[in-house]
Symmetry: C2
Subunit: 653 residues, 2 copies
């Protein structure tokens, strides 16, 4: 090895053609690699039947696995965290239900049943379950296009619950079919742009509450909102505005304080509940509800009523509910799974994305049967949960219990809660989601990612949430397609005093080998890029020929294709190689392959391309290939037998 003085003077190595696997064995292993990359069932191997049953139960219902190890120490931590997030869950639940144009009580219902379901099935220890701002906004904007929440409130609620049901079914199906990778196609850049845009839009919507406006546009784009606000100048209520500005100031100060000193996190966590209490007391004392400050009003006492009969499967708007369900389901997953995953990485435990999807799905299906709407794992609440020191999902159970008590006994207390306070809570939470720091990072590291992010952001802000989402997904998909359609190729040169060959672009010190063109292909060769590669490689060859011709040096005798990075090839790719071989043969050049990989060499063998090119022209390394070319160049003329090319096109008249 290097430095050990071991020499490198053995003859060229043979490229192995791995033995053909039986078809079904190969299929099984590639299906396993595709759908079970993390090998979730490895603990089931070599176990007795009973043990497997227990393990299976623990796999699908994680609480069975960790409950026996639960200690009182854990409970103390979870109790504190649970009460903290409950103090956040109540005002946030009411605010987000407001944002979704749903009755406020639905927001409280949604913080009771779903957290309990998640505590049983979820594998994250830090995720706090609840309604989410972006999901609520999407729900309102998609359903609102066909049904007015003010004119037909009953149908609107039914459709919201039906959409939640389908979101749950879709999420569960994705998880069961192990199609979690669908969510991966929403890239980080897309999500940053989309979430920031949605947060901006949500903030703008809150100006309705802050300015005490009664009528407001149903559009979410910035132009409509600004127009709606300034066309109603005379309707602005200063009482509401003053309250709003005060509470925004209060919430921002507490947030700032808690960021300054870690022990103050609870100031931040309790601030929303404090605002609600302060605001309600103030309104009660000053009777401000009679002077333009809108309040929540009557909230029904009692736990979630069943809502199975509300699922509107027979409604003519069923298609809309299904479409809305799929979109909010994916957005819920994208946020929830990402949040769960980042805390898991932080605390060094593992989260199975597909299992999480099933948990989210079951939670939404259960929710849709108990008068809840879409729930996921909001980042703000989960961060508070984490900072409050939660240990397990029991903090969700504690939160649910606290919400239950609220539902049973405390709802009348919210009668005088001013809407403006809820708006300020949303505004401050949303401003934190506008992730300009990530955008700056994207700009520094990857300009394309930055453009994707901005596309999503401006799409949401200037058009609508759905259009922003469509733009974001389209750009992401186009990027994936371009990635695969346009792989890079590069010319390799010899690093002086070594057998190493590297791209001459990256290593200007690398020298070309006279008479030999060494090309490196950077990606699997598939139907999607075979045509491109053929054109690009032809261009490399004639550019090299031109260069050699103009410099009057030796002509081009060998074309070495370095296939190290070609992980796989399909029949179109093989045709492409065959064409390149025909072209080089015709010009009296010899095509040489270096380091074809397992998948590639197998297919080249089956398609008889190895026979055509000659096994002796396939080398294990570029170095060996070039050495052989040099040897031939200096001892004898290249013996290229031009192809007979007497194949006939069929006459299919």
């Amino acid at each position: 090895m290097v430095g050990n003085g071991e020499n490198y003077e053995y003859g060229p190595h043979r490229v192995a053609i791995p033995p053909a696997k039986p078809f079904f064995k190969g299929l099984k292993s590639s299906l396993k690699e595709t759908f079970f990359p993390d090998d979730p069932f490895r603990q089931f191997k070599n176990q007795s039947c009973l043990r497997r049953l227990v393990l299976g139960l623990q796999y699908f219902v994680p609480i069975v696995e960790w409950a026996p190890r639960y200690t009182f120490e854990f409970f103390k931590a979870d109790l504190i965290a649970g009460v903290t997030i409950a103090s956040l869950a109540v005002p946030q639940g009411i605010s987000y239900a407001n944002l979704a144009n749903l009755p406020p009580i639905l927001g409280l219902y949604s913080s009771f049943v779903p957290p309990l379901v998640y505590a049983m099935l979820g594998s994250s220890r830090d995720l706090a379950v609840g309604t989410v701002a972006v999901g609520s906004l999407l729900l309102a904007s998609m359903l609102g296009k066909e049904i007015s929440p003010t004119e037909n409130p009953k149908l609107y609620v039914q459709l919201a619950i039906t959409a939640t049901f389908f979101a749950g079914v879709f999420q569960t199906a994705l998880g069961l079919l192990r199609l979690g990778f669908v969510v991966d196609f929403l890239s980080h850049a897309t999500i940053v742009g989309f979430m920031s845009g949605a947060a901006t839009v949500v903030c703008l919507q809150q100006l309705k509450g802050v300015l005490g406006l009664v009528h407001f546009t149903h559009q979410t784009d910035i132009m409509s909102v600004i127009h709606s606000i300034f066309s109603q100048l005379h309707q602005w209520r200063w009482e509401s505005g003053v309250l709003g500005v005060c509470f925004v100031f209060f919430l921002i100060v507490t947030k700032y304080l808690s960021k300054r000193k870690k022990a103050f996190f609870w100031i931040n966590a309790l601030a929303p509940l404090t605002s609600v209490i302060l605001g309600s007391v103030l309104v009660y004392l000053t009777h401000a509800e009679k002077h333009g400050v809108q309040v929540i009003g009557h909230l029904k006492k009692g736990l979630n009523p069943p809502s199975v009969s509300e699922l509107a499967f027979g409604s003519p708007h069923l298609t809309l509910a299904i479409k809305t369900g799929i979109v909010i389901g994916i957005i819920g997953l994208a946020e929830g799974v990402a949040v769960g995953r980042s805390f898991a990485i932080f605390k060094n435990y593992h989260i199975d994305g597909n299992k999480e999807m099933i948990a989210f799905g079951m939670m939404n299906i259960a929710g849709s049967c108990t008068s809840c709407y879409l729930t996921a794992g909001p980042f703000s609440r989960s961060a508070v949960n984490f900072n409050a020191g939660c240990k397990t999902a029991v903090s969700n159970i504690v939160m649910a219990t606290a919400v239950m008590i609220t539902l049973l006994f405390l709802t009348p207390l919210f009668h005088y809660t001013p809407l403006v306070v809820l708006s300020t809570i949303i505004i401050v939470a949303m401003v934190g989601l506008i992730d300009y720091e990530s955008a700056i990072h994207l700009w520094k590291v990857d300009k394309v990612d930055f453009m994707v992010c901005m596309g999503a952001y401006f799409g949401v802000v200037f058009a609508s949430v759905e259009i922003g989402l469509i733009i974001a997904v389209t750009i992401s998909m186009l990027r994936v397609l371009l990635f695969i359609a346009r792989p890079r190729t590069s010319v390799l040169g010899n690093i002086p005093n070594s057998m190493i060959f590297r791209s001459t672009d990256q290593y200007p010190v690398a020298n070309n080998v006279p008479g030999v063109l060494i090309l490196h292909i950077d990606a699997p060769v598939y139907f999607a890029n075979a045509n491109y590669l053929r054109e690009r490689i032809s261009r490399w060859i004639y550019e090299e020929e031109d260069k050699l011709k103009s410099s009057g040096e030796t002509s081009l005798h060998y074309v070495v294709l370095d296939l190290s990075s070609v992980g796989s090839i399909d029949t179109s790719g093989i045709s492409m190689l065959e064409e390149i071989k025909r072209n080089t043969d015709r010009k009296g050049q010899k095509l040489v392959l270096a380091n074809p990989r397992s998948e590639v060499i197998k297919k080249l063998d089956k398609s008889k391309f190895i026979e055509a090119i000659g096994q002796e022209w396939i080398y294990l390394t570029v170095g060996e290939a070039v050495a052989a070319c040099n040897f031939m160049l200096h001892t004898c003329k290249p013996n290229v037998a031009a192809d007979e090319s007497n194949r006939q096109a069929d006459e299919n008249v």
Copy 2:
């Protein structure tokens, strides 16, 4: 070099970080690589203004380029080829128009103007232009869903012409925007399956003509067709059937003969015209048209009437026309460009796919203004053209002239041509398109490609042409997405007596290095596969740990990631690497990178990952990385400083 006895005992090489390119220069070069891989304008460099103008004209109107070099020898060859394909074009034109439920005369019109346009603009020397079976069938099935060709024939023709116009516009746009790669996403396997399925369906449809049925299903799936045939047993006309069987026999025998001996190709080429003449004479003499043998009837004399006023831009069915135009436009391109390309490869000249698209588009726009419907480059006619020895696109001009003479003087001769003869011509042409040999080849070489092909085939045959197309495109897209979402990873081992590291799967002789896990990633690392790679790499690591633990050997100290095949990375990919680094640091393992490529090292540098991992842990080759690990293992303990991990999750309440 190997065999030259040159030794390899220099110290490790530095991985170069290429200098940052200015943003717009980088953007320009990557746009060029994306849209102009073949560098079509390289001949324009360093030329005078006038010369550029001439070159530009030659570029966009290729006939200007080759016409001055045209000789009488060429003309003789083109004349023979042109007359031969004209003898095929007339009956085929009438048959395919029949298949599209359009008046037969439109088939003749379509063989007059479009070939002239293509002769000016096209770059293929062998393509024979005309209507195509699959395009005709698609047109009929898509338009037929909304408009009945029997009840509303005028509107149906208008929509067909409008769809042709939009097909032309779409094709031209694809070419001008250099988006030719869109067509590449229809893989060879998809096209084989789709075309074979369409050919099967077309054959089945012809049973209507052969059995002399008057009423027939408008569905194309095999079940509807079989039901339609056997529910009308008593309507079968034996006269028609006998004629049909005779002519099929005649055409197959001529085809067989011409395949046996190459000089007999003209037997095959002239057989359709002979059939038409024989059939017409027979009907005329026996008055069979009064005994159940349907005939073409009256054909209007005269050249193409202008049809600009027929373009139905104001029609309520405009959306349908646009949709149909896009679908048939793509299908026309996929067949035409592939046919042109394969003959070009055969005769060793170059075809620019994007330019071909413009030629096809202009030809269809011109056609839609002169009463033609969709034209492309049918394989059967082009193969005859090729075998007849055509030299340039002049053969298309000769064909157009022959069709013109037919239109002006000979149309009355087709009055007694029996429809059954046209059906047999289609059947025999279509049977040749059922490419079972390619399917067998796909099965042998690539099972997934075979499944794609079968999916498309059965989709077309058992459902409908559109559903078959949707299945085919969906499978192709899913494959592309899976390709990128599930890259392979493999463990590398040392090939004995060398510095070479290769996959232990492919080379069982390769030895693991104790205490060092070497992983190779096979594809660019993007948002679409970053999550998968993180899970898969973690699994490799713990599998290796398990193996070492159970064997009681040394524990795992180094994880070497071979990035040779990672051509590019985005911000999600970098986060993935950062997570892997955090995980290995936590376990006291050291992450080492080998051979990061130009794009990758640039981004790793910008995102400060190089600083985090340490420049000294990035090596040019796997061999050098492993040598360094071994050196550290044997001289000192790995100095892994566990990350402080004191990053805090933001409290965004």
